[in-house]
């Protein structure tokens, strides 16, 4: 009997990932990026303490979304449970700091690496699963993670249901910055590094291989792409990014506990990449803003049923921009260009 799996459909959604080309920024874009960066850095002295905290959380989510987007947007593997890696990163950092005595800046890469390994190990058997089946497996991971975190035999490390309380770092070298300001700047730095890495990955042969697998797995293999390796590595890298986001968030929140990482977090992350723009770099930022602020806005609109407002907003956004914020921006850009061309 010939292997049937060799014939199986490309992931049901492959054709539906109506996404765009390479993420390579054109020259002019770098100026914009620089300007944005300066602006972001400037916020350090503009925002109040808790707003800086929110901004820091936006960056954490942005990094996490970047990770999920690598996996889902660029590689076509749907994850409904990425909150698990966010949790793992957060706990990784917390444990490294609490039990390993590492400083916060060292705890982050450690947490990232731990997620890389776990993500890879999860991605390896999950290779056989596609589409819905992968969705179930990841969904299950998302559901199981809080339970694992409070598992009694791990309690010595995880603090069980009570979680772990962390201390916020002071600004180093006697810089005249408050803890919030420093943490925000630090997170901004980490974010820039993470964006650069993703940019490098995606604009190179690696990114093309990832997207090729998403579009047509069999053809990618026929072109010499080692799907197994790439898919599980993509899973690992994605988990690592999300883990770094989680690690940073643990430091910002100063506390980790299983309750922080419910399935809703995973769902929010998925919503984030779709709202931001699947398979786009900048989408991660927009998605993070959405995750952070829309629930609060909804609460302001209706105290009685804020989540109904949130749900309606979500559906409305998908109606108006099925390709997410970045999709919409691109459409507007093309339309503008077309008009310019016609005018000129």
């Amino acid at each position: 009997m010939a292997s049937l799996s060799s014939l199986s459909t490309p992931p049901a959604g492959a054709a539906n990932f109506a996404t765009q080309g390479a993420p390579v920024a054109r020259r002019g874009h770098w100026l914009w990026v620089l300007a944005l960066l300066l602006l972001a850095a400037g916020l350090t002295w503009v925002l109040k303490g808790y707003q800086l905290f929110q901004a820091t959380m936006v960056l954490c989510y942005a990094i996490a979304l970047l990770g999920l987007n690598i996996l889902t947007g660029y590689n076509g593997q749907i994850s409904l449970g990425h909150g698990a890696f966010f949790a793992l990163g957060a706990y990784g950092a917390a444990i490294a700091m609490e039990h390993g005595g590492l400083p916060y800046w060292a705890a982050i890469p450690v947490a990232g690496l731990a997620c890389l390994v776990v993500g890879y190990l999860f991605g390896r058997p999950a290779l056989k699963l596609e589409g819905l089946y992968l969705a179930l497996a990841t969904f299950a991971l998302g559901v199981a993670m809080p339970q694992l975190l409070k598992y009694k035999h791990l309690e010595a490390w995880t603090g069980g249901v009570q979680g772990i309380v962390l201390i916020k770092p002071d600004a180093p070298w006697g810089l005249p910055l408050t803890q919030d300001q420093w943490l925000y700047l630090f997170a901004l730095g980490v974010t820039v590094v993470m964006f650069l890495i993703v940019h490098n990955l995606l604009s190179s042969g690696t990114g093309r291989a990832m997207r090729a697998i998403r579009d047509h797995a069999l053809a990618a293999e026929a072109m010499g792409v080692d799907n197994r390796h790439y898919k599980s590595m993509t899973f690992g890298v994605s988990a690592a990014f999300t883990g770094v986001g989680g690690a940073l968030s643990a430091i910002a929140v100063q506390f980790v506990s299983p309750d922080s990482f419910t399935l809703f977090l995973s769902i929010s992350l998925l919503v984030g990449i779709v709202v931001g723009g699947l398979g786009t770099l900048w989408g991660a930022l927009f998605g993070a803003l959405f995750i952070m602020f829309v629930p609060n806005l909804a609460e302001q609109v209706s105290k009685a049923a804020p989540w109904a407002v949130y749900g309606v907003a979500l559906i409305a956004i998908m109606f108006v921009m099925p390709g997410g914020v970045v999709g919409l921006l691109r459409r507007m850009q093309t339309a503008l260009r077309a008009r310019e061309n016609r005018g000129g």
Binding site: A2, S204, A209
Partner: protein, 273 residues
């Protein structure tokens, strides 16, 4: 290294590809039934046969998408039955697909660059951190892709998303992508399908060019007899998974079994006219 000589080859160089007794079954269906033949270096060989004879199945065995139930395939002296799929491009077997299998959301250029993957890729870590070598390898892939885009006259479309392109153009992109891996053996599954008369001529020239200029051996599945007879050095005919004939185009064209099962009698040409 030996190879069986029942065909009485005068050529002493070992064949590039040896297919020996390949059988593939799907449940009760026998798609290939002990098929054997050789392909010599530098030739254009055509594989013909009625619909469902097993031609695409054979292609899929050659690119390891299907497992053979029995038999062996030796490429360039190396048995390939055990190799993982993604190695096929690296050892020198490139292919196109009967029903296009492009990376639909990517540009023409990126499609072709993915084709370079087997020969030019830097690895994740190197790419992620732009370590030494990454840029050079990237540039090599870029150069090869440009060359092929030019070779197949895709310059104008290079930055378009492939799925927006007409069928014929997409076929050319697939060809470019297959050539990007610098194959020794190129498998073409019905390249003429959907092309009109004019384009057919161009295709014939192109295939010959690929053989002559790039030194690529070509195995071709095709129903368009004009093309097959025009460019192939040798033809192998299958029916119901079995080889029924092989030889020069002229020999195969006049083989009674081939006429009965596949071509139909000559005098019936222009049905009912």
């Amino acid at each position: 290294m030996t190879h069986d000589n029942d065909r009485g080859d005068s050529n002493t160089a070992p064949p590039l590809l040896q297919v020996q007794g390949v059988t593939v079954r799907f449940g009760g269906i026998v798609a290939l039934d002990g098929v054997s033949f050789d392909i010599r270096r530098g030739e254009i060989c055509a594989l013909i046969g009625p619909n469902g004879a097993g031609k695409s199945t054979l292609f899929n065995c050659l690119s390891r998408l299907y497992e053979c139930n029995s038999g062996s395939i030796v490429f360039d002296g190396q048995p390939i039955n055990r190799l993982p799929r993604h190695r096929m491009a690296a050892i020198g077997i490139g292919r196109t697909f009967q029903n296009l299998a492009l990376f639909g959301s990517m540009t023409v250029r990126d499609n072709v660059r993915v084709g370079c993957h087997s020969k030019h890729h830097a690895g994740m870590v190197r790419n992620a951190f732009r370590l030494p070598g990454a840029a050079r390898i990237e540039a090599e892939a870029q150069a090869r892709a440009e060359a092929l885009i030019h070779f197949l006259q895709l310059d104008a479309e290079a930055d378009r998303i492939v799925s927006d392109l007409p069928f014929g153009t997409q076929k050319r992109v697939e060809l470019a992508r297959a050539l990007a891996s610098e194959p020794q053996l190129l498998l073409l599954d019905e390249p003429a399908c959907g092309l009109n008369h004019e384009e057919l001529q161009g295709l014939g020239d192109l295939i010959r060019d690929i053989r002559d200029r790039l030194g690529v051996t070509v195995l071709l599945v095709e129903h368009h007899m004009g093309l097959v007879m025009g460019i192939s050095d040798r033809v192998v005919a299958l029916n119901f998974g079995k080889k029924i004939a092989q030889g020069t185009p002229a020999e195969v064209r006049s083989h009674p079994e081939v006429i009965r099962a596949y071509l139909g009698a000559e005098e019936e040409e222009g049905v009912g006219a």
